[in-house]
Subunit: 291 residues, 2 copies
DNA sequence: CGAGGAGTTGACTTTGTTCAATCCCCGTGG
DNA sequence: CCACGGGGATTGAACAAAGTCAACTCCTCG
Protein backbone atom coordinates (compact mmCIF):
# COMPACT_ATOMS: atom_id res chain seq x y z
CA UNK A 1 0.00 0.00 0.00
CA UNK A 2 1.29 3.24 -1.09
CA UNK A 3 4.78 1.91 -1.24
CA UNK A 4 4.90 1.33 2.43
CA UNK A 5 8.57 0.76 2.12
CA UNK A 6 9.20 3.12 -0.69
CA UNK A 7 10.93 0.34 -2.54
CA UNK A 8 11.88 2.71 -5.24
CA UNK A 9 11.64 6.09 -3.75
CA UNK A 10 9.35 6.77 -6.60
CA UNK A 11 6.11 7.57 -4.93
CA UNK A 12 3.01 6.28 -6.61
CA UNK A 13 -0.52 6.57 -5.52
CA UNK A 14 -1.39 3.11 -6.51
CA UNK A 15 -3.48 1.34 -4.01
CA UNK A 16 -6.78 1.73 -2.50
CA UNK A 17 -7.18 4.54 -0.16
CA UNK A 18 -9.41 2.69 2.14
CA UNK A 19 -9.08 2.80 5.85
CA UNK A 20 -7.66 5.74 7.59
CA UNK A 21 -8.09 6.28 11.21
CA UNK A 22 -10.25 5.55 14.14
CA UNK A 23 -9.89 3.30 17.07
CA UNK A 24 -11.59 0.02 17.60
CA UNK A 25 -14.86 0.19 19.35
CA UNK A 26 -16.52 -0.85 22.50
CA UNK A 27 -19.86 -2.38 22.67
CA UNK A 28 -21.72 -0.66 25.37
CA UNK A 29 -24.83 -1.76 23.66
CA UNK A 30 -26.59 0.08 26.40
CA UNK A 31 -29.04 2.81 25.51
CA UNK A 32 -31.19 2.89 22.48
CA UNK A 33 -28.75 1.30 20.15
CA UNK A 34 -29.85 -2.11 18.98
CA UNK A 35 -27.49 -5.02 19.53
CA UNK A 36 -25.67 -4.63 16.27
CA UNK A 37 -23.08 -7.33 16.54
CA UNK A 38 -22.97 -10.87 17.62
CA UNK A 39 -19.58 -12.02 18.76
CA UNK A 40 -18.27 -15.51 18.24
CA UNK A 41 -15.01 -17.34 18.68
CA UNK A 42 -12.72 -16.58 15.79
CA UNK A 43 -10.69 -19.38 14.42
CA UNK A 44 -10.44 -18.64 10.76
CA UNK A 45 -9.62 -15.04 11.36
CA UNK A 46 -6.03 -15.14 10.23
CA UNK A 47 -6.69 -17.09 7.10
CA UNK A 48 -7.02 -13.81 5.37
CA UNK A 49 -5.29 -14.23 2.08
CA UNK A 50 -1.76 -12.94 1.82
CA UNK A 51 -3.51 -9.87 0.61
CA UNK A 52 -4.06 -8.81 4.16
CA UNK A 53 -1.62 -5.93 4.41
CA UNK A 54 -2.96 -4.34 7.54
CA UNK A 55 -3.73 -7.66 9.09
CA UNK A 56 -0.17 -8.49 9.91
CA UNK A 57 -1.25 -7.71 13.37
CA UNK A 58 -3.93 -10.30 13.14
CA UNK A 59 -1.59 -12.95 11.92
CA UNK A 60 0.84 -12.18 14.64
CA UNK A 61 -1.73 -12.16 17.37
CA UNK A 62 -3.32 -15.31 16.12
CA UNK A 63 -0.08 -17.07 15.71
CA UNK A 64 1.18 -16.43 19.14
CA UNK A 65 -0.89 -18.69 21.32
CA UNK A 66 -4.43 -19.53 20.62
CA UNK A 67 -6.93 -17.03 21.91
CA UNK A 68 -4.95 -15.08 24.43
CA UNK A 69 -6.31 -11.84 23.11
CA UNK A 70 -9.84 -13.14 23.14
CA UNK A 71 -10.50 -12.54 19.50
CA UNK A 72 -13.96 -12.90 18.24
CA UNK A 73 -15.92 -12.54 15.10
CA UNK A 74 -18.30 -9.67 14.72
CA UNK A 75 -21.11 -9.45 12.21
CA UNK A 76 -22.74 -6.27 11.03
CA UNK A 77 -25.77 -5.85 8.83
CA UNK A 78 -25.89 -3.11 6.27
CA UNK A 79 -26.18 0.27 7.93
CA UNK A 80 -25.24 -0.90 11.40
CA UNK A 81 -22.56 0.79 13.43
CA UNK A 82 -19.38 -0.93 14.46
CA UNK A 83 -18.76 1.86 16.93
CA UNK A 84 -19.79 5.42 17.56
CA UNK A 85 -17.74 8.53 18.02
CA UNK A 86 -17.05 8.88 21.72
CA UNK A 87 -17.46 5.24 22.56
CA UNK A 88 -14.74 3.92 24.82
CA UNK A 89 -12.14 2.10 22.81
CA UNK A 90 -12.08 -1.59 23.56
CA UNK A 91 -11.00 -3.24 20.36
CA UNK A 92 -9.54 -2.98 16.89
CA UNK A 93 -11.07 -4.80 13.97
CA UNK A 94 -9.97 -6.46 10.77
CA UNK A 95 -12.52 -6.85 8.02
CA UNK A 96 -13.03 -10.37 6.70
CA UNK A 97 -15.80 -9.67 4.26
CA UNK A 98 -17.81 -6.57 3.58
CA UNK A 99 -17.18 -2.86 3.53
CA UNK A 100 -17.08 -0.26 6.27
CA UNK A 101 -16.90 3.51 6.18
CA UNK A 102 -15.58 5.71 8.95
CA UNK A 103 -17.06 9.16 9.19
CA UNK A 104 -17.67 12.21 11.34
CA UNK A 105 -20.46 14.74 11.55
CA UNK A 106 -20.17 18.50 11.52
CA UNK A 107 -22.02 21.05 13.56
CA UNK A 108 -24.18 22.04 10.67
CA UNK A 109 -25.20 18.49 10.01
CA UNK A 110 -22.93 17.56 7.16
CA UNK A 111 -21.18 14.23 7.13
CA UNK A 112 -17.59 13.71 6.16
CA UNK A 113 -16.48 10.26 5.10
CA UNK A 114 -12.93 9.79 6.27
CA UNK A 115 -12.21 6.41 4.76
CA UNK A 116 -13.61 3.27 3.23
CA UNK A 117 -12.40 -0.03 4.59
CA UNK A 118 -12.33 -3.27 2.65
CA UNK A 119 -11.56 -6.89 3.49
CA UNK A 120 -8.14 -7.14 5.05
CA UNK A 121 -8.18 -3.57 6.28
CA UNK A 122 -7.97 -2.66 9.92
CA UNK A 123 -10.74 -0.51 11.34
CA UNK A 124 -10.09 1.52 14.43
CA UNK A 125 -6.32 1.44 14.24
CA UNK A 126 -6.11 5.17 14.64
CA UNK A 127 -7.82 5.06 17.99
CA UNK A 128 -5.44 2.52 19.35
CA UNK A 129 -3.92 4.92 21.83
CA UNK A 130 -7.09 6.80 22.62
CA UNK A 131 -9.76 6.16 25.19
CA UNK A 132 -12.62 7.16 22.91
CA UNK A 133 -13.29 6.58 19.26
CA UNK A 134 -12.83 9.68 17.16
CA UNK A 135 -15.33 8.72 14.49
CA UNK A 136 -18.23 6.54 13.50
CA UNK A 137 -17.78 3.25 11.72
CA UNK A 138 -20.71 2.03 9.69
CA UNK A 139 -21.17 -1.07 7.56
CA UNK A 140 -21.99 -0.35 3.92
CA UNK A 141 -23.14 -3.91 3.45
CA UNK A 142 -23.32 -7.07 5.53
CA UNK A 143 -19.90 -7.39 7.04
CA UNK A 144 -17.84 -9.78 9.13
CA UNK A 145 -14.92 -8.60 11.20
CA UNK A 146 -12.36 -10.00 13.56
CA UNK A 147 -12.12 -8.29 16.90
CA UNK A 148 -8.86 -7.65 18.71
CA UNK A 149 -9.31 -6.58 22.30
CA UNK A 150 -7.33 -3.46 22.85
CA UNK A 151 -7.02 -3.49 26.61
CA UNK A 152 -4.22 -5.97 26.47
CA UNK A 153 -2.47 -3.75 24.01
CA UNK A 154 -2.36 -0.26 25.38
CA UNK A 155 -2.41 -1.06 29.06
CA UNK A 156 1.30 -0.60 29.21
CA UNK A 157 3.87 0.15 26.61
CA UNK A 158 5.56 -3.15 27.29
CA UNK A 159 2.73 -5.14 25.82
CA UNK A 160 3.10 -3.08 22.70
CA UNK A 161 6.55 -4.39 22.11
CA UNK A 162 5.65 -7.56 20.28
CA UNK A 163 3.25 -5.69 18.08
CA UNK A 164 5.30 -2.58 17.80
CA UNK A 165 6.68 -3.07 14.36
CA UNK A 166 3.41 -4.21 12.86
CA UNK A 167 1.48 -1.40 14.42
CA UNK A 168 3.95 1.17 13.30
CA UNK A 169 3.77 -0.14 9.77
CA UNK A 170 0.02 -0.07 9.84
CA UNK A 171 -0.12 3.41 11.29
CA UNK A 172 2.41 4.56 8.77
CA UNK A 173 0.23 3.19 6.03
CA UNK A 174 -2.72 5.15 7.29
CA UNK A 175 -0.65 8.27 7.51
CA UNK A 176 0.57 7.91 3.94
CA UNK A 177 -2.94 7.41 2.73
CA UNK A 178 -4.19 10.38 4.67
CA UNK A 179 -1.52 12.45 3.05
CA UNK A 180 -2.52 11.20 -0.35
CA UNK A 181 -6.08 12.27 0.29
CA UNK A 182 -4.89 15.63 1.50
CA UNK A 183 -3.00 16.19 -1.71
CA UNK A 184 -5.91 15.02 -3.79
CA UNK A 185 -8.34 17.36 -2.10
CA UNK A 186 -5.98 20.30 -2.25
CA UNK A 187 -5.10 20.29 -5.90
CA UNK A 188 -7.24 18.02 -7.99
CA UNK A 189 -10.27 18.88 -10.11
CA UNK A 190 -13.51 16.96 -9.88
CA UNK A 191 -12.58 14.71 -12.78
CA UNK A 192 -9.14 14.00 -11.41
CA UNK A 193 -10.53 13.20 -8.00
CA UNK A 194 -13.08 10.73 -9.24
CA UNK A 195 -10.60 9.00 -11.52
CA UNK A 196 -8.11 8.82 -8.68
CA UNK A 197 -10.74 7.35 -6.45
CA UNK A 198 -11.66 4.72 -9.02
CA UNK A 199 -8.03 3.76 -9.50
CA UNK A 200 -7.52 3.48 -5.77
CA UNK A 201 -10.47 1.14 -5.66
CA UNK A 202 -9.19 -0.82 -8.62
CA UNK A 203 -5.76 -1.22 -7.08
CA UNK A 204 -7.35 -2.33 -3.87
CA UNK A 205 -9.41 -4.96 -5.62
CA UNK A 206 -6.42 -6.16 -7.59
CA UNK A 207 -4.49 -6.47 -4.37
CA UNK A 208 -7.20 -8.69 -3.00
CA UNK A 209 -7.37 -10.85 -6.05
CA UNK A 210 -10.45 -9.38 -7.64
CA UNK A 211 -10.89 -7.81 -11.00
CA UNK A 212 -9.48 -4.34 -11.13
CA UNK A 213 -11.29 -3.53 -14.35
CA UNK A 214 -14.85 -4.33 -13.42
CA UNK A 215 -16.30 -4.00 -9.97
CA UNK A 216 -19.31 -2.95 -8.00
CA UNK A 217 -19.23 0.15 -5.87
CA UNK A 218 -20.26 -0.47 -2.32
CA UNK A 219 -21.01 3.14 -1.58
CA UNK A 220 -23.48 5.71 -2.84
CA UNK A 221 -22.68 8.74 -4.96
CA UNK A 222 -23.25 10.80 -1.87
CA UNK A 223 -20.67 8.86 0.10
CA UNK A 224 -18.16 9.02 -2.71
CA UNK A 225 -18.76 12.73 -2.95
CA UNK A 226 -18.25 13.20 0.74
CA UNK A 227 -14.98 11.34 0.60
CA UNK A 228 -13.52 13.16 -2.37
CA UNK A 229 -14.96 16.53 -1.46
CA UNK A 230 -17.66 16.90 -4.11
CA UNK A 231 -21.43 16.91 -4.23
CA UNK A 232 -23.27 13.83 -5.35
CA UNK A 233 -24.43 15.63 -8.48
CA UNK A 234 -20.91 16.41 -9.51
CA UNK A 235 -19.90 12.82 -8.92
CA UNK A 236 -22.75 11.64 -11.07
CA UNK A 237 -21.92 14.08 -13.83
CA UNK A 238 -18.30 13.07 -13.84
CA UNK A 239 -19.27 9.43 -14.08
CA UNK A 240 -21.42 10.25 -17.07
CA UNK A 241 -18.72 12.26 -18.70
CA UNK A 242 -16.08 9.60 -18.30
CA UNK A 243 -18.54 7.14 -19.81
CA UNK A 244 -19.28 9.47 -22.72
CA UNK A 245 -15.60 9.73 -23.50
CA UNK A 246 -15.38 5.98 -23.45
CA UNK A 247 -12.99 5.65 -20.56
CA UNK A 248 -15.38 3.74 -18.34
CA UNK A 249 -18.74 2.09 -18.28
CA UNK A 250 -21.32 2.92 -15.66
CA UNK A 251 -24.43 0.96 -14.79
CA UNK A 252 -25.78 1.83 -11.40
CA UNK A 253 -22.93 0.89 -9.16
CA UNK A 254 -21.25 -1.43 -11.58
CA UNK A 255 -18.17 0.19 -13.01
CA UNK A 256 -15.90 -0.97 -15.79
CA UNK A 257 -12.59 0.68 -16.46
CA UNK A 258 -12.08 0.57 -20.21
CA UNK A 259 -8.87 2.51 -20.63
CA UNK A 260 -6.76 2.35 -17.55
CA UNK A 261 -3.70 4.00 -19.07
CA UNK A 262 -5.77 7.01 -20.03
CA UNK A 263 -7.31 7.07 -16.59
CA UNK A 264 -3.94 6.93 -14.95
CA UNK A 265 -2.82 9.78 -17.11
CA UNK A 266 -5.66 11.88 -15.79
CA UNK A 267 -5.12 10.90 -12.20
CA UNK A 268 -1.38 11.27 -12.18
CA UNK A 269 -1.37 14.76 -13.48
CA UNK A 270 -1.36 16.34 -10.06
CA UNK A 271 0.44 13.48 -8.48
CA UNK A 272 3.43 13.26 -6.30
CA UNK A 273 6.50 13.07 -8.39
CA UNK A 274 9.37 10.70 -7.96
CA UNK A 275 12.96 10.92 -6.83
CA UNK A 276 14.63 13.79 -8.53
CA UNK A 277 12.02 16.26 -9.63
CA UNK A 278 12.78 19.38 -11.52
CA UNK A 279 12.24 20.59 -8.06
CA UNK A 280 14.57 22.83 -6.21
CA UNK A 281 18.01 21.57 -5.52
CA UNK A 282 20.27 23.46 -3.28
CA UNK A 283 19.17 26.23 -1.07
CA UNK A 284 16.52 28.82 -1.56
CA UNK A 285 14.01 26.64 -3.21
CA UNK A 286 10.77 27.65 -1.58
CA UNK A 287 7.80 27.69 -3.83
CA UNK A 288 9.00 29.78 -6.66
CA UNK A 289 8.30 26.85 -8.90
CA UNK A 290 4.69 26.60 -8.01
CA UNK A 291 3.39 28.56 -10.90
CA UNK B 1 -3.31 18.41 20.73
CA UNK B 2 -6.50 17.63 19.09
CA UNK B 3 -7.72 15.98 22.23
CA UNK B 4 -5.16 13.30 21.95
CA UNK B 5 -6.86 11.54 24.75
CA UNK B 6 -10.33 12.67 24.02
CA UNK B 7 -10.66 13.83 27.57
CA UNK B 8 -14.22 14.72 26.91
CA UNK B 9 -15.19 12.85 23.86
CA UNK B 10 -16.07 16.22 22.52
CA UNK B 11 -13.74 16.71 19.63
CA UNK B 12 -12.37 20.15 19.09
CA UNK B 13 -9.96 21.30 16.50
CA UNK B 14 -8.03 23.42 18.81
CA UNK B 15 -4.35 23.24 18.27
CA UNK B 16 -1.98 23.96 15.59
CA UNK B 17 -2.05 21.72 12.66
CA UNK B 18 1.64 21.81 12.23
CA UNK B 19 3.70 18.78 11.60
CA UNK B 20 2.29 15.88 9.79
CA UNK B 21 4.43 13.30 8.25
CA UNK B 22 7.81 12.53 6.92
CA UNK B 23 10.70 10.67 8.27
CA UNK B 24 13.90 12.07 9.53
CA UNK B 25 16.54 12.53 6.98
CA UNK B 26 19.95 11.43 6.03
CA UNK B 27 22.63 13.75 5.11
CA UNK B 28 24.27 12.37 2.07
CA UNK B 29 25.44 15.80 1.37
CA UNK B 30 26.87 14.25 -1.69
CA UNK B 31 26.01 15.63 -5.09
CA UNK B 32 25.22 19.17 -5.89
CA UNK B 33 23.52 19.98 -2.68
CA UNK B 34 25.42 22.43 -0.53
CA UNK B 35 26.28 21.37 3.00
CA UNK B 36 23.12 22.69 4.53
CA UNK B 37 23.57 21.66 8.11
CA UNK B 38 26.28 21.73 10.64
CA UNK B 39 25.87 19.18 13.34
CA UNK B 40 27.00 19.61 16.91
CA UNK B 41 26.63 17.70 20.15
CA UNK B 42 23.22 18.33 21.60
CA UNK B 43 22.99 18.86 25.28
CA UNK B 44 20.22 21.34 25.70
CA UNK B 45 18.00 19.49 23.32
CA UNK B 46 15.50 18.24 25.83
CA UNK B 47 15.13 21.51 27.64
CA UNK B 48 12.28 22.18 25.35
CA UNK B 49 9.59 23.69 27.49
CA UNK B 50 6.86 21.43 28.73
CA UNK B 51 5.17 22.62 25.60
CA UNK B 52 6.98 19.98 23.66
CA UNK B 53 4.16 17.61 22.95
CA UNK B 54 5.78 15.64 20.19
CA UNK B 55 9.14 15.76 21.84
CA UNK B 56 8.34 13.25 24.49
CA UNK B 57 10.57 11.06 22.46
CA UNK B 58 13.35 13.51 22.85
CA UNK B 59 12.96 13.76 26.58
CA UNK B 60 12.92 10.05 26.89
CA UNK B 61 15.91 9.51 24.69
CA UNK B 62 17.85 12.26 26.36
CA UNK B 63 16.97 11.14 29.79
CA UNK B 64 18.01 7.60 29.33
CA UNK B 65 21.77 7.78 29.23
CA UNK B 66 23.68 10.64 27.80
CA UNK B 67 24.15 10.47 24.08
CA UNK B 68 23.55 6.86 23.31
CA UNK B 69 21.54 7.77 20.29
CA UNK B 70 24.14 10.18 19.06
CA UNK B 71 21.93 13.21 19.03
CA UNK B 72 23.19 16.34 17.49
CA UNK B 73 22.07 19.79 16.74
CA UNK B 74 21.33 20.78 13.19
CA UNK B 75 21.12 24.31 11.86
CA UNK B 76 19.33 25.37 8.74
CA UNK B 77 19.28 28.74 7.06
CA UNK B 78 16.12 30.04 5.49
CA UNK B 79 15.28 28.09 2.36
CA UNK B 80 17.59 25.19 3.03
CA UNK B 81 16.45 21.60 2.95
CA UNK B 82 16.48 19.36 5.95
CA UNK B 83 16.00 16.40 3.65
CA UNK B 84 14.78 15.62 0.19
CA UNK B 85 12.13 13.24 -1.03
CA UNK B 86 13.82 9.94 -1.71
CA UNK B 87 16.75 10.48 0.61
CA UNK B 88 17.50 7.47 2.77
CA UNK B 89 16.01 7.91 6.21
CA UNK B 90 18.65 8.22 8.88
CA UNK B 91 17.14 10.45 11.52
CA UNK B 92 14.12 12.13 13.00
CA UNK B 93 14.22 15.74 14.09
CA UNK B 94 12.70 17.93 16.75
CA UNK B 95 12.57 21.66 16.11
CA UNK B 96 14.12 23.85 18.77
CA UNK B 97 13.66 27.19 17.09
CA UNK B 98 12.41 28.10 13.65
CA UNK B 99 9.82 26.81 11.24
CA UNK B 100 9.87 24.01 8.71
CA UNK B 101 7.48 23.00 5.99
CA UNK B 102 7.16 19.53 4.50
CA UNK B 103 6.01 19.35 0.92
CA UNK B 104 5.80 17.31 -2.25
CA UNK B 105 5.83 18.17 -5.93
CA UNK B 106 3.40 17.06 -8.60
CA UNK B 107 4.04 15.97 -12.14
CA UNK B 108 2.79 19.21 -13.52
CA UNK B 109 5.08 21.21 -11.33
CA UNK B 110 2.75 22.29 -8.57
CA UNK B 111 3.84 22.11 -4.97
CA UNK B 112 1.69 20.80 -2.17
CA UNK B 113 2.53 21.83 1.37
CA UNK B 114 1.72 18.93 3.63
CA UNK B 115 2.45 20.51 6.97
CA UNK B 116 4.10 23.31 8.86
CA UNK B 117 6.29 22.40 11.79
CA UNK B 118 7.03 24.67 14.74
CA UNK B 119 9.33 24.50 17.75
CA UNK B 120 8.68 21.35 19.68
CA UNK B 121 7.30 19.52 16.69
CA UNK B 122 8.85 16.40 15.29
CA UNK B 123 9.84 16.42 11.64
CA UNK B 124 10.18 13.16 9.79
CA UNK B 125 8.17 11.08 12.20
CA UNK B 126 6.06 9.67 9.42
CA UNK B 127 9.05 8.19 7.69
CA UNK B 128 10.19 6.40 10.77
CA UNK B 129 9.51 3.00 9.32
CA UNK B 130 10.49 3.83 5.77
CA UNK B 131 13.83 3.64 4.03
CA UNK B 132 13.30 6.84 2.06
CA UNK B 133 11.75 10.14 2.91
CA UNK B 134 8.39 10.66 1.31
CA UNK B 135 8.61 14.43 1.10
CA UNK B 136 10.82 17.48 1.21
CA UNK B 137 11.47 19.40 4.39
CA UNK B 138 12.47 23.02 3.98
CA UNK B 139 13.26 25.70 6.54
CA UNK B 140 11.02 28.76 6.30
CA UNK B 141 13.47 30.72 8.43
CA UNK B 142 16.73 30.06 10.22
CA UNK B 143 16.09 26.94 12.22
CA UNK B 144 17.74 24.73 14.81
CA UNK B 145 16.79 21.12 15.22
CA UNK B 146 17.75 18.16 17.34
CA UNK B 147 18.67 15.05 15.44
CA UNK B 148 17.69 11.57 16.54
CA UNK B 149 19.44 8.83 14.64
CA UNK B 150 16.89 6.41 13.37
CA UNK B 151 19.03 3.39 12.73
CA UNK B 152 19.03 2.48 16.37
CA UNK B 153 15.30 2.72 16.32
CA UNK B 154 14.01 0.68 13.47
CA UNK B 155 16.78 -1.84 13.23
CA UNK B 156 14.66 -4.30 15.07
CA UNK B 157 11.28 -4.08 16.63
CA UNK B 158 12.76 -4.73 20.02
CA UNK B 159 14.51 -1.41 20.14
CA UNK B 160 11.18 0.21 19.51
CA UNK B 161 9.84 -1.10 22.76
CA UNK B 162 11.08 1.66 25.03
CA UNK B 163 9.87 4.29 22.64
CA UNK B 164 6.78 2.47 21.58
CA UNK B 165 4.26 4.40 23.58
CA UNK B 166 5.71 7.80 22.77
CA UNK B 167 5.97 7.01 19.12
CA UNK B 168 2.47 5.72 18.94
CA UNK B 169 1.18 8.84 20.61
CA UNK B 170 3.12 11.01 18.23
CA UNK B 171 1.99 9.09 15.19
CA UNK B 172 -1.55 9.18 16.45
CA UNK B 173 -1.27 12.93 16.75
CA UNK B 174 -0.15 13.23 13.18
CA UNK B 175 -2.95 11.00 12.04
CA UNK B 176 -5.56 13.06 13.86
CA UNK B 177 -4.19 16.24 12.35
CA UNK B 178 -4.13 14.72 8.90
CA UNK B 179 -7.74 13.81 9.33
CA UNK B 180 -8.57 17.33 10.43
CA UNK B 181 -6.97 18.69 7.29
CA UNK B 182 -8.87 16.19 5.20
CA UNK B 183 -12.14 17.34 6.66
CA UNK B 184 -11.22 20.97 6.24
CA UNK B 185 -10.35 20.52 2.58
CA UNK B 186 -13.41 18.46 1.86
CA UNK B 187 -16.08 20.68 3.25
CA UNK B 188 -14.89 24.15 4.12
CA UNK B 189 -15.18 27.35 2.11
CA UNK B 190 -12.22 29.62 1.54
CA UNK B 191 -13.11 31.83 4.48
CA UNK B 192 -13.62 28.90 6.81
CA UNK B 193 -10.34 27.36 5.77
CA UNK B 194 -8.30 30.47 6.36
CA UNK B 195 -9.93 31.14 9.72
CA UNK B 196 -9.36 27.54 10.72
CA UNK B 197 -5.76 27.83 9.71
CA UNK B 198 -5.28 31.00 11.74
CA UNK B 199 -6.85 29.42 14.79
CA UNK B 200 -4.66 26.37 14.46
CA UNK B 201 -1.67 28.66 14.39
CA UNK B 202 -2.96 30.65 17.34
CA UNK B 203 -3.54 27.53 19.40
CA UNK B 204 -0.09 26.35 18.52
CA UNK B 205 1.48 29.59 19.67
CA UNK B 206 -0.54 29.58 22.85
CA UNK B 207 0.63 26.08 23.53
CA UNK B 208 4.21 27.23 23.24
CA UNK B 209 3.70 30.19 25.49
CA UNK B 210 3.43 32.87 22.85
CA UNK B 211 0.63 35.25 22.16
CA UNK B 212 -2.25 33.61 20.43
CA UNK B 213 -3.80 36.92 19.44
CA UNK B 214 -0.93 38.57 17.65
CA UNK B 215 1.76 36.76 15.73
CA UNK B 216 3.89 36.82 12.63
CA UNK B 217 3.29 34.36 9.84
CA UNK B 218 6.37 32.46 8.87
CA UNK B 219 5.03 31.41 5.51
CA UNK B 220 3.99 33.22 2.35
CA UNK B 221 0.47 33.55 1.03
CA UNK B 222 1.43 31.04 -1.59
CA UNK B 223 2.48 28.49 1.00
CA UNK B 224 -0.65 29.05 3.04
CA UNK B 225 -2.72 28.63 -0.08
CA UNK B 226 -1.00 25.42 -0.96
CA UNK B 227 -1.63 24.04 2.48
CA UNK B 228 -5.32 24.92 2.66
CA UNK B 229 -6.05 24.24 -0.99
CA UNK B 230 -6.50 27.77 -2.31
CA UNK B 231 -4.64 30.15 -4.60
CA UNK B 232 -2.53 32.89 -3.10
CA UNK B 233 -4.92 35.50 -4.44
CA UNK B 234 -7.86 33.92 -2.67
CA UNK B 235 -5.87 33.77 0.54
CA UNK B 236 -5.01 37.43 0.22
CA UNK B 237 -8.59 38.39 -0.52
CA UNK B 238 -9.86 36.47 2.46
CA UNK B 239 -7.34 38.18 4.69
CA UNK B 240 -8.56 41.52 3.44
CA UNK B 241 -12.17 40.61 3.93
CA UNK B 242 -11.66 39.40 7.48
CA UNK B 243 -9.85 42.65 8.19
CA UNK B 244 -12.67 44.69 6.64
CA UNK B 245 -15.18 43.01 8.87
CA UNK B 246 -13.00 43.80 11.83
CA UNK B 247 -12.27 40.25 12.88
CA UNK B 248 -8.54 40.51 12.35
CA UNK B 249 -5.77 42.95 11.53
CA UNK B 250 -3.34 42.30 8.72
CA UNK B 251 -0.03 44.01 8.09
CA UNK B 252 2.21 42.04 5.84
CA UNK B 253 2.70 38.89 7.77
CA UNK B 254 1.76 40.30 11.12
CA UNK B 255 -1.69 39.10 12.11
CA UNK B 256 -3.86 40.12 15.01
CA UNK B 257 -6.96 38.21 15.94
CA UNK B 258 -9.46 40.76 17.22
CA UNK B 259 -12.52 38.63 17.80
CA UNK B 260 -11.62 35.07 18.49
CA UNK B 261 -15.12 33.96 19.47
CA UNK B 262 -16.44 35.15 16.15
CA UNK B 263 -13.58 33.48 14.36
CA UNK B 264 -14.21 30.24 16.16
CA UNK B 265 -17.83 30.46 15.17
CA UNK B 266 -16.82 30.65 11.55
CA UNK B 267 -14.30 27.86 11.79
CA UNK B 268 -16.42 25.51 13.77
CA UNK B 269 -19.33 25.60 11.43
CA UNK B 270 -18.18 22.60 9.48
CA UNK B 271 -16.43 21.05 12.38
CA UNK B 272 -16.51 17.67 13.87
CA UNK B 273 -19.29 17.45 16.35
CA UNK B 274 -19.14 16.00 19.79
CA UNK B 275 -20.49 12.95 21.51
CA UNK B 276 -24.09 12.50 20.68
CA UNK B 277 -24.84 14.35 17.48
CA UNK B 278 -28.26 14.54 16.02
CA UNK B 279 -26.62 11.94 13.97
CA UNK B 280 -27.97 8.54 13.31
CA UNK B 281 -28.61 6.37 16.26
CA UNK B 282 -29.50 2.83 15.75
CA UNK B 283 -29.21 1.09 12.48
CA UNK B 284 -29.67 2.35 8.98
CA UNK B 285 -28.09 5.68 9.47
CA UNK B 286 -26.02 6.14 6.37
CA UNK B 287 -25.87 9.65 5.10
CA UNK B 288 -29.51 10.56 4.89
CA UNK B 289 -28.73 13.49 7.08
CA UNK B 290 -26.15 15.04 4.84
CA UNK B 291 -27.83 17.26 2.37
C1' DC C 1 -47.09 -4.12 -8.24
C1' DG C 2 -46.33 -0.01 -5.86
C1' DA C 3 -43.35 3.20 -3.13
C1' DG C 4 -39.33 5.39 -2.38
C1' DG C 5 -34.59 6.01 -2.35
C1' DA C 6 -30.71 6.50 -5.60
C1' DG C 7 -29.16 8.37 -9.70
C1' DT C 8 -29.28 11.42 -13.73
C1' DT C 9 -29.80 15.66 -15.97
C1' DG C 10 -30.68 20.62 -16.82
C1' DA C 11 -30.75 25.66 -15.71
C1' DC C 12 -28.92 28.91 -12.91
C1' DT C 13 -25.97 30.75 -9.05
C1' DT C 14 -22.02 30.98 -6.33
C1' DT C 15 -17.34 30.48 -5.42
C1' DG C 16 -12.91 30.53 -6.47
C1' DT C 17 -9.38 30.84 -10.30
C1' DT C 18 -6.88 33.20 -13.85
C1' DC C 19 -4.67 36.98 -15.79
C1' DA C 20 -2.90 41.27 -15.06
C1' DA C 21 -1.95 45.70 -13.11
C1' DT C 22 -0.41 48.04 -9.09
C1' DC C 23 1.34 48.64 -4.50
C1' DC C 24 4.36 48.21 -0.73
C1' DC C 25 7.98 46.77 2.14
C1' DC C 26 12.76 45.82 2.64
C1' DG C 27 17.14 45.48 1.65
C1' DT C 28 20.94 47.24 -1.37
C1' DG C 29 23.93 50.29 -3.11
C1' DG C 30 25.07 54.82 -4.57
C1' DC D 1 20.61 58.95 4.06
C1' DC D 2 17.90 58.26 0.37
C1' DA D 3 16.83 56.37 -4.30
C1' DC D 4 16.19 52.12 -6.60
C1' DG D 5 14.99 47.37 -7.48
C1' DG D 6 12.40 43.32 -6.65
C1' DG D 7 9.73 39.90 -4.59
C1' DG D 8 5.63 39.48 -1.85
C1' DA D 9 1.06 41.18 -1.39
C1' DT D 10 -3.18 43.44 -2.91
C1' DT D 11 -6.83 44.31 -5.96
C1' DG D 12 -9.80 44.23 -10.13
C1' DA D 13 -12.25 42.10 -14.02
C1' DA D 14 -13.40 38.25 -16.78
C1' DC D 15 -13.86 33.41 -16.70
C1' DA D 16 -14.41 28.61 -15.35
C1' DA D 17 -15.59 25.10 -12.18
C1' DA D 18 -18.44 23.22 -9.00
C1' DG D 19 -22.64 23.86 -6.12
C1' DT D 20 -27.66 24.48 -5.72
C1' DC D 21 -32.29 23.76 -6.85
C1' DA D 22 -35.37 21.04 -9.09
C1' DA D 23 -37.51 17.84 -12.27
C1' DC D 24 -37.58 13.40 -13.73
C1' DT D 25 -36.09 8.37 -14.40
C1' DC D 26 -34.91 3.96 -12.83
C1' DC D 27 -33.88 0.32 -9.84
C1' DT D 28 -34.69 -2.13 -5.69
C1' DC D 29 -37.03 -3.61 -2.00
C1' DG D 30 -41.10 -4.67 0.34
Amino acid sequence: MYGLFGQSGSIKWTHEVSQFFHPPAPMTQSDDRPPQREAMPCSTCCQMAGSCPECGLGQKACGRAGADTAQRMVRLRKGEFLYLLGDPVTAIYAIRVGTVKTHVTTEDGRTQVLAFHFPGDMVGLDSLVRPHYASYATALEDTKLCLFAVDALHQNAASLAPLGAQLLLALDGQLQRARAVQTMLALMTAEERLVTFLLWLADGFALRGFSSSAFVLRMSREEIGSFIGLTLETVSRQFSRLAEVGLITVRHRTITLLDKPALRAIASRPMIVAQAPQAPIGRRASLQDIG
